[in-house]
Amino acid sequence: MNGGFQINHCIHCQVTVEASLQECPLCGKKLTNTRLSVPRSYPAYALHNKSSYYFQLFWKTLVPLMFIGAFLIPSLITLLTGEGDLWLNRETLGIASAWVLVRYTFLSRMHMGKKFLLQIMNISLALFIFDHVGEARGWSVNYVIPFMLICSTLAMMYIVYKRKRLWSDYAVYVMTLIFLGFLPSFLYLIRVTSLLWPSAAAAGFAIVSLIAVYFFLDKNFRSYFNRRLHF
């Protein structure tokens, strides 16, 4: 019995070994009579499999640590001691936001819907803080956030409409976006927002979207909820 492949011998272990192996897999001793031309049972693994580990380590661990070291710690010291220039907070925020953008969009394998949602929240939060750390004119909550929610809901619904098989994958994110559409109105009620019409437009669009989802995707929609909510 030779199992269909050419063999070599390990004298130490007293076993036969696949002919192309240079070391005995059991004891690690060098084998004589190795024939590299003989096909191996397993492929030689591509270098990228191993280098991707270091790539991930660099981007997902070392880069965030460098940012924390370079920006967050000085900012924290400034905040705690009250000495120094607070300008650094803005820069830190911008860099942190950019890092979330790069790390969770380009370097992440998470679901596209989740990426979309996360970046909307990331950008909204960054703009809100920029707005309020500055002269607090409210441009972020009055205009940018409501219209960003309208555009992103529209974009995601268009993707799902065009590629119907994605519906079950994206449904939870579409629904979350639709419900986020009511957030500017809530902010208006608690007087964070001073301008009504953009918030009302976002809420109105959310209602229209809900109706569209119910009527145009009704069968899938109900089936989707049966699946999602079974217990």
Partner: protein
């Protein structure tokens, strides 16, 4: 056919536990006598998936539980380019949970454990190889041993058989203690080293028979003995050595299901007492009688379903369930065993197929706390013993195969994927 279905009882935990160091993906392979032709293999796969639609399912998250949905995206055969039992790259909704690879003479099927168990995956592989050989023009016949694409799908194949054999009751609680843990230095980059040995099943059966044991009992005893010899040098860890062996419940509880239907038997020896292979073998034979009894397996079914039926658990949101399951498993359950040995037994191939198949392999994924596991499979008198490990230390595997060759004079043929060894 419903477009979606609930996960079976055993499958519920696997998606919560899947991560890089616990892929919950196992591999069954057939090594043919000729190099595999990818075009024909793809055609064979296209035919086979029609017979096994449940294998193309993808897992989605609900509010309280996950569920599986049929997916019509065609599966593609791929040349093997990564280590066996590689974790899923993407989310379970975006990536096929069953993959087919080829390399030289080997056809491999890698399956996420939530889809099916070893028995189901082996049925799929048998059909795939049968269709492949048929497309090559070989004179193969199913001989009632292959589920061919021309057959109708039996509704029982899709059932959760745990529920069929559930009888309400409260079996006694099992109090398990933590087991001796094999430790070592993880490969960097992390990966799975597979070291396999092929031996003659009939010669091994003769050796086991002389000791009054079955082949599985003998190989299990030898594994525990080699672990014991290592543990005796590790004076800090005096916990018992426990090896878990998955049990195919179909043998005791007739079922045609292709979904998960297995229980786990735990075998245990003390690492503090003086042990010999003979002494361990006696202990295993004694424990086998209890572990494989219908009563104990029935209790395992009831215990599993009772957990699923806890009313409060049904209304706990999935993210919280995931946290509970993960913590329970990695901090407790995974430490109740030293390693796992799974035996798919003698694969019953049609006589017309055996001339084309050299051997079959099963590779079981290592876990976070069990960095070494073992899979056994026999075809054509070739038994393949496959060790998979994620640590550099290799003494247990070396001693295991050397024992077979030096003590019993068996011809052992070794091959490996050399992950972490050659760069």
């Amino acid at each position: 056919m419903n477009k979606w279905t609930k996960l079976d009882n055993a499958a519920i935990v696997f998606p919560s536990l899947a991560k890089a160091k616990n892929s919950t993906i196992y591999r069954v392979s057939a090594v043919l006598k000729e190099t595999v032709l990818p075009v024909r293999l793809q055609q064979a796969l296209d035919i086979t998936v029609k017979r096994y639609p449940m294998m193309t399912m993808r897992i989605h998250k609900g509010l309280f539980w996950r569920y599986m949905e049929y997916d019509d995206e065609p599966l593609r055969v791929k040349r093997e380019d990564d280590y066996p039992c590689h974790p899923l790259q993407d989310r379970m909704t975006m990536e096929a949970l069953l993959k087919v690879f080829y390399y030289q003479r080997r056809i491999s099927v890698e399956v996420f454990h939530a889809i099916t168990d070893g028995s189901g995956a082996m049925e799929f592989l048998k059909t795939l190889v049968y269709e492949y050989l048929r497309l090559l023009g070989k004179a193969v016949e199913p001989e009632d041993k292959i589920r061919t694409a021309s057959e109708d799908i039996h509704p029982e194949e899709l059932e959760d058989s745990f529920h069929r054999y559930y009888t309400p009751g409260r079996p006694p609680k099992i109090r398990n203690t933590k087991a001796y843990q094999i430790t070592g230095t993880y490969f960097e980059p992390y990966g799975n080293n597979v070291t396999q040995g092929v031996v003659s099943a009939s010669a091994l059966r003769q050796i086991a028979k002389k000791q009054g044991a079955t082949l599985t009992e003998f190989l299990l005893a030898l594994l525990m003995y080699t672990i014991y010899r290592q543990s005796s040098q590790d004076r800090k860890d005096q916990r018992p050595i426990k090896v878990s062996v998955p049990v195919n419940l179909r043998q005791m509880f007739p079922s045609k299901t292709l979904r998960n239907f297995f229980a786990v038997a735990l075998f245990e020896i003390s690492s503090q007492q003086e042990q010999s292979l003979f002494k361990i073998l006696c202990a295993i034979k004694e424990q086998s009688v209890k572990n494989y009894s219908k009563k104990v397996l029935q209790e395992a079914i009831v215990r599993n379903i009772n957990l699923e039926k806890i009313k409060i658990a049904r209304f706990i949101p999935l993210p919280i369930k995931d946290i509970i399951v993960k913590n329970r498993y990695f901090l407790y359950n995974d430490k109740l065993r030293t390693c796992t040995m799974t035996n798919l037994g003698r694969v019953d191939l049609p006589k017309t197929m055996t001339p084309y198949v050299d051997r079959m392999e099963v590779v079981f994924y290592p876990t976070a706390n069990n960095p070494l596991n073992c899979g056994l499979c026999t075809v054509n008198d070739n038994m393949t013993i496959s060790f998979s490990r994620t640590i550099r230390e290799n003494r247990i595997i070396g001693e295991y195969f050397r024992y077979l060759s030096q003590e019993y004079g068996l011809e052992v043929k070794i091959y490996s994927n050399e992950w972490g060894i050659s760069d």
